[in-house]
């Protein structure tokens, strides 16, 4: 028993001495820590995330070891990350003189959304079916998407407007009762800065001359204009300021129950 007790105390004493020794020799301690380190995948990911900044600092002649000691230590303890670092370092070093491949294949840009896809996505968020009809909320992005579509020559409006429309938007089945809504905005030649919004409606189960009396409400920045469709389902809303088009809200009220 005495021997065991003595041996245990001696062991504790030895370990304490060893730890003090390691404390007193930080260089040896760092190397020992690198040798006993148990790094896992999370350490690798953290190291890879810091690799670009580490190489940036190294190439800039900064004290990268002091700035990012965890990355430096991990690179000493993980061969795979050290190899990844070498690839990044060497390609950055040679940045201005990278080898020229014999042939560069063309990119596949199918991942980019076409202007039409983009417009459809925006419209999906801009059109809100209502119990009484539908609401369309314009935005700068929606106008930009409309603008990006190839332009089509549009006929002047009943001869009253010489200019082509500023935009045209055709919504198919935007609400259960609405088969289509065609909106176009024409500049008003006589009143600069103002335009006329033209709405052409087709409703499910209704046809000429049963399309009269549908209310179209246009709002912008606290202002409001209303018009009622004629028997062809067409309504004109004049006096719309052209500089607030991105803030327009258009409501089409098709049912008896008014919003």
């Amino acid at each position: 028993v005495l021997f065991s007790l003595f041996y245990s105390l001696f062991s504790i004493f030895c370990i304490r001495n060893k730890r003090m020794d390691a404390q007193n020799d930080p260089q040896a301690r760092r190397l020992a820590e690198a040798l006993v380190a148990n790094e896992d995948e999370a350490d690798c990911l953290a190291c890879l995330d810091g690799l670009e900044a580490y190489v940036d600092a190294q190439l800039a002649g900064e004290d990268y070891l002091a700035q990012m000691p965890q990355v430096a230590q991990h690179l000493d303890t993980c061969v795979a990350c050290a190899e990844a670092y070498a690839l990044v370092y060497e390609v950055r070093l040679a940045e201005a003189n990278l080898p020229l491949p014999a042939r560069i294949p063309p990119p596949d840009l199918a991942f980019l959304r076409s202007p039409l896809q983009r417009l459809q996505e925006l419209l999906a968020g801009a059109v809100e079916p209502l119990a009484t009809g539908l609401r369309l909320v314009f935005s700068q992005a929606l106008l930009a998407a409309l603008d990006a579509l190839p332009s089509t020559a549009a006929p002047a409006l009943r001869g009253e407007f010489a200019a082509a429309p500023l935009f045209e938007l055709l919504l198919a089945n935007p609400a259960p009762a609405v088969e289509s809504l065609h909106l176009s905005l024409y500049p008003d030649g006589a009143r600069p800065g103002l335009g006329t919004l033209r709405a052409q409606l087709a409703l499910v189960g209704r046809d000429w001359p049963d399309l009269a009396g549908i209310n179209i409400v246009v709002r912008w920045l606290g202002a409001e204009q209303q018009a009622t469709s004629d028997e062809w389902g067409e309504a004109l809303i004049p006096g719309v300021p052209l500089d607030v088009v991105a803030q327009l809200v258009v409501e089409v009220i098709t049912s008896e129950e008014k919003a």
Binding site: R19, A22, T77, A86, Y89, L100, P107, F111, L112, R113
Partner: protein, 200 residues
């Protein structure tokens, strides 16, 4: 703002111009720049062309999806370069491929040796020096380990010294990889690791 920053901002704005012809042109403009980076990193792989195309394509899609995370459009090309480099690294690390970056000749593959005999009463430094001296490492390997840890030299200085000794260009990255591999060899000696743990 300098020309490069303005040009980067222009390219960023075009890439973000959703659905426009300018957007497609901007991504097409980025493609060869990023492909060259990927190709340079993968040049030592047997299927470098196909891998470079795959990685560049994947990087292009990541750039497109993460445009909003580009904090500095004035450094847009550098940001795109980071993405393609990380994509290549991730590709090389995929376990299924287990690709290994080809690096200059080193001591990889040296046979393992029996555990190193160490003096029980040695202090930490003496024990480490004895372990390094007894391990199957080349002279260069010993220098880059001891140089970093006991002489606190940076890899640039170690690489310069090794270049002078070998009469061949040695990069700091070569020094780093050599050191990592040789520390891995030392770590393979479980009795040494157990002894070291007593000090920590």
């Amino acid at each position: 703002m300098d020309d490069l920053a303005a040009e980067n901002e222009r390219l960023f704005a075009d890439c973000a111009n959703e659905g426009s012809p300018a957007q497609a042109a901007a991504f097409a403009e980025l493609w060869p720049v990023l492909y060259r980076i990927a190709y340079a990193m993968l040049a030592r792989q047997t299927d470098a062309d196909a891998l470079a195309a795959d990685c560049t394509q994947a990087a292009l899609i990541k750039i497109y999806r993460n445009l909003a995370r580009c904090e500095s459009p004035a450094r847009f090309r550098a940001w795109c370069g980071q993405i393609v480099r990380r994509t290549v690294i991730d590709e090389l690390r995929r376990p299924a491929l287990a690709r290994r970056a080809a690096l200059p000749a080193d001591e990889a593959g040296a046979p393992t040796t029996p555990p190193i005999e160490l003096n029980e009463s040695a202090d930490l430094r003496s024990m480490l020096v004895a372990a390094i001296a007894a391990a199957p490492l080349s002279e260069r390997s010993r220098r880059v380990v001891l140089g970093r840890f006991f002489e606190e030299q940076v890899d640039e200085a170690l690489a310069q010294a090794e270049s002078a000794l070998s009469d061949q260009p040695v990069l700091p990255s070569h020094v780093q990889v050599t050191r990592a591999k040789n520390l891995a060899k030392l770590r393979a000696d479980s009795s040494l690791v157990a002894r070291l743990r007593e000090f920590l």
